[in-house]
């Protein structure tokens, strides 16, 4: 039954019904009291049917046309007693030839002379609904991807310097609620040394349209320190000015830390390799020079007939033999550093160990009348391998005594420093100094001597450096000729 078949009482109603039947929207009507149902011609055609091709009945509508999952939506809308006009509902209806389509139906309730009537118009929204669903799916996909990538996006408006952050950014910040943050507040989440870096990058992007891509340390609201990647790209207007910076913030902590640990293993390996090469060089160069000399002297001994020459040559052979022995001892010491590295560390008291060494080399100190001052109050103790610490302090001390300046009383100062998580040992003297422009990094090389001091063997600082580096520390030297030398040692 169509609307036009209804017997309308007046012309205008008839007219209206004809219009309704001719427009491409479907009108339906349902009488709650009689359960009678009416569809307009457009209702049929919108579903792909000829008028009256299917029976207009509740049974057909509910059991054949309406998608089973949408029944509840539709019934709820019908039974809604609210006075305000009900919201349009979205339902799926079976079309004649192309399966279920999405439709939107208005729902209106009216009291008629025939009782309570509900009516509505349906339009096909399939295209929009599909697009909407696709968009929702894409959104979901995008959200998942971003969550997996631990990535958030943000935007800075160049004119107002207003910062907009995506939800994921708040996740990275570990902020419970999405409170508004200023640029300064966002920057303050970065660790202090990185704050100027990110602030400069933002300023340069705003001012000079420079993009940036940085890896920085970041402290979340829950006090987790993580590595993040901060990338910003300026959006430029037709005048070449930056109007917006758009960017991402990504939690790259686990990767970055893996990279850093890889880098530090690489550095360690490079260091060890360098030490090995140095070792190989010592073995080849120093042992070769001794054995060469030995061979030379033995040959000379054979060629010489003079008894007094032979005596002298033999004395030299003996001296070479003991040098050879000393070199082997030195090599042993170096190998020992590598094997002792696995020894237990224990808590060492700087003052106690330093005093022990002072009394052990008391005669050397008194020989040059040296004044020795120390202050270990900043870090009185350290967890270290005791044999290394003894060796380091003793080497530095004997070194300072050996190269003291003949024109003044030797003054040797030693103190510890605590900075961040590191403990430093500073060792200063007012000795003859060393020309670092000339010798530079050779200071810590093996058998490198720089003065015509008969006691100089060129082994002490080499061993000291090896011991310090074996435990992950560093040693640096500053020196001025005739003024003095200062060693700065990062112990841990």
């Amino acid at each position: 039954m169509s609307f036009s078949e209804d017997k309308f009482s007046d012309d205008s109603r008839l007219h209206l019904a004809q219009i309704i039947d001719n427009i491409n929207a479907g009108i339906w009507e349902y009488n709650i009291n009689t359960r009678a149902i009416k569809w307009s011609a457009g209702f049929y055609s919108i579903l792909g049917y000829e008028t009256n091709e299917i029976e207009c009945s509740n049974h057909i509508f509910f059991d054949h046309l309406l998608y089973h999952q949408d029944k509840a939506v539709f019934l709820n809308a019908l039974s809604d007693q609210g006075t305000t006009p009900a919201k349009p509902i979205q339902i799926r209806l079976l079309t004649k030839s192309s399966g279920y389509h999405w439709f939107e139906s208005t729902i209106k309730r009216q009291h008629d002379r025939n009782g309570q009537i509900i009516y509505g118009s349906i339009i096909n929204i399939n295209q929009y609904k599909q697009a909407e669903l696709r968009a929702a799916r894409n959104d979901q996909h995008y959200g998942d991807t971003i969550r997996i990538a631990k990535l958030g996006s943000w935007e800075i408006d160049a004119a107002s310097l207003n910062l907009t952050l995506s939800k994921q950014i708040y996740d990275i910040f570990e902020l419970q609620s999405e409170i508004k943050l200023s640029i300064e507040e966002a920057v303050s989440f970065f660790e202090p040394p990185y704050r100027p870096v990110i602030q400069n990058a933002i300023n340069n992007a705003l001012e000079f349209c420079q993009p940036y891509d940085l890896e920085l340390l970041f402290r979340t609201a829950k006090n987790h320190v993580i590595w993040v990647r901060a990338k910003g790209v300026p959006i430029i207007n037709e005048y070449g000015r930056c109007v917006t910076i758009r960017g991402i913030l990504q939690d790259i902590d686990s990767n970055k830390r893996k990279g850093l640990s890889l880098e530090s293993s690489l550095n360690l390996l490079t260091d060890q390799n360098r030490r090995l090469q140095n070792f190989a060089y010592i073995v080849s160069h120093n042992l070769r020079s001794h054995t060469g000399n030995l061979q030379f002297m033995v040959n000379l001994y054979e060629e010489t007939e003079l008894e007094e020459d032979r005596t002298e040559i033999f004395a030299h052979i003996k001296s070479i033999s003991s040098s050879l022995n000393a070199t082997i001892e030195h090599l042993n010491e170096i190998v020992k550093i590598q094997t002792e590295i696995t020894n237990e560390r224990s808590i060492i008291n700087f003052e106690a160990i330093f005093n022990n060494i002072q009394s052990a080399i008391k005669s050397n100190i008194e020989a040059v009348n040296a004044r020795i001052e120390y202050d270990f109050s900043q870090s009185p103790q350290i967890s270290y391998i005791p044999a290394y610490m003894e060796s380091i302090l003793q080497n530095l001390l004997t070194n300072a005594l050996k190269y003291s300046h003949p024109d003044r009383q030797p003054l040797i100062k030693c103190h510890t420093l605590k900075e961040r998580n590191h403990i430093y040992l500073i060792f200063e003297d007012n000795g003859i100094g060393i020309d670092l422009d000339r010798y530079g990094d050779k200071v810590f090389g093996m058998y490198k001597t720089f003065h015509q001091n008969p006691d100089a063997k060129g082994i002490g600082l080499f061993i000291t450096r090896n011991q310090i580096e074996a435990l992950g520390g560093t040693i640096k030297v500053e020196s001025t000729v005739n003024i003095g030398t200062k060693f700065t040692i990062k112990l841990v």
């Binding site: 160069h285 020079s289 060469g292 030379f296 000379l300 002298e312 070479i320 003065h451 100089a456």
Partner: protein, 140 residues
């Protein structure tokens, strides 16, 4: 008739005293030179060469070690290049080193006034050739 070989004035710059002693002894045993001056580092040798008092007593040949304290062989060569034109005598310089590092050998080859590279401890035949050439030049 035997022509007496002109005296060759030699010089060795090496901080290894034992080696220098042996080298001197060897030159004497092999009748190559009885006049060998020894310096323990490049700096002392440069001072000797520069001293006008030694102008008449400059060496004909210098044997130079590379690794030495105070002034090593490389630094000596740098200074030597600068003063050699003022010395009034052509002095041959041979590197005498136990280093078999190709880097050292190439570096020495690239110094114009280095005539050759001799490996320690010693190569007697090579030394004899070098001295023969020197005497030949001196005779001319």
């Amino acid at each position: 008739m035997i022509v007496p070989a002109p005296l060759v004035n030699a010089c060795i710059i090496d901080n290894n005293k034992i080696y220098a002693y042996g080298f001197k002894k060897l030159l004497s045993i092999k009748d190559l030179s009885n006049q060998v001056t020894h310096f323990e580092n490049g700096s002392d040798a440069i001072a000797h060469l520069k001293n006008p008092g030694n102008a008449l007593n400059l060496p004909d040949i210098i044997f130079l070690d590379l690794s030495m304290p105070v002034m090593d062989g490389w630094e000596f060569m740098k200074e030597f290049e600068e003063i050699k034109s003022q010395l009034g005598k052509k002095i041959s310089v041979y590197i005498l080193s136990s280093s078999i590092d190709s880097h050292d050998i190439d570096r020495a080859k690239n110094i114009p006034s280095v005539s050759g590279y001799i490996f320690k401890p010693v190569d007697v035949q090579r030394l004899q050739e070098i001295f023969k050439n020197l005497q030949g030049i001196a005779r001319q």
